[in-house]
Symmetry: C2
Subunit: 105 residues, 2 copies
DNA sequence: CTTATAGTGAAGTAACAGCTTCACTATCAG
DNA sequence: CTGATAGTGAAGCTGTTACTTCACTATAAG
């Protein structure tokens, strides 16, 4: 469970950066390349590369280099982990409300 | 939509910090106070207060001061925004896959 | 072969985020 | 009243992080 926590850690941290979320949003609309991602963001391709490292490490993006072009695509796996965490908190909260209800009766 | 984006921004940023996520997880199990939150985290109550500011600003936590004690509780509203964002990306990705399928036919 | 394109890697900078300390206020208990 | 408890606010320290520059490699095109 310690490793799982670390994964959630990296995931939320990755999406905490607005530039990185912009990249994810772009890629969810379809694959792209490093320089095509950089253009609208107005940052260097080096910076984009660094962001891609982070996104790849937590399962939000998958990349593949063919020739001299690296193609980046969206990866659904990361979102599943996110949804799981949200579900956990929700159900814990429901249980807490139930206990409160029992006490009030 | 600009304002909505800013909200999502603050939300992910808030949950990007492990300490803040620990606070949210704790509160989803039931309400607590500032100093009770600080104890297991081994940080000062001042630090916890600062985290609570962030969490309150993005609708993940609600707090209320009675006498000299501030009681903090979990707020479901924030999670809804999160889920909405995840859903958006998922559906965009589905559509992208559909377009790809059409092309391949 | 020459030149342009796409990306990589290392190193540095500037800003920010998380945390602390300390001095302080407000509330409750004996 | 006295002392302890719970929290607040300002200011400063420190490590992290997002970003840049520059020198470089590898592929593609003329």
């Amino acid at each position: 469970m310690g490793a799982a926590l670390k994964k959630t850690d990296r995931l939320f941290n990755a999406l905490g950066d607005p530039t990185r979320r912009a990249i994810v949003e772009k890629l969810s609309r379809g694959p792209s390349t490093v320089s095509k991602l950089a253009a609208p963001l107005e940052i260097t391709i080096t910076a984009v590369r660094q962001h891609l490292d982070v996104l790849e490490a937590c399962g939000l993006v998958r990349t593949q280099k063919v020739g001299r072009v690296r193609t980046c695509s969206f990866e659904t796996k990361g979102l599943a982990v996110l949804e799981h965490w949200i579900g956990e908190q929700r159900s814990m909260w429901e249980q807490a409300l139930d206990r409160l209800g029992d006490i009030l009766e």
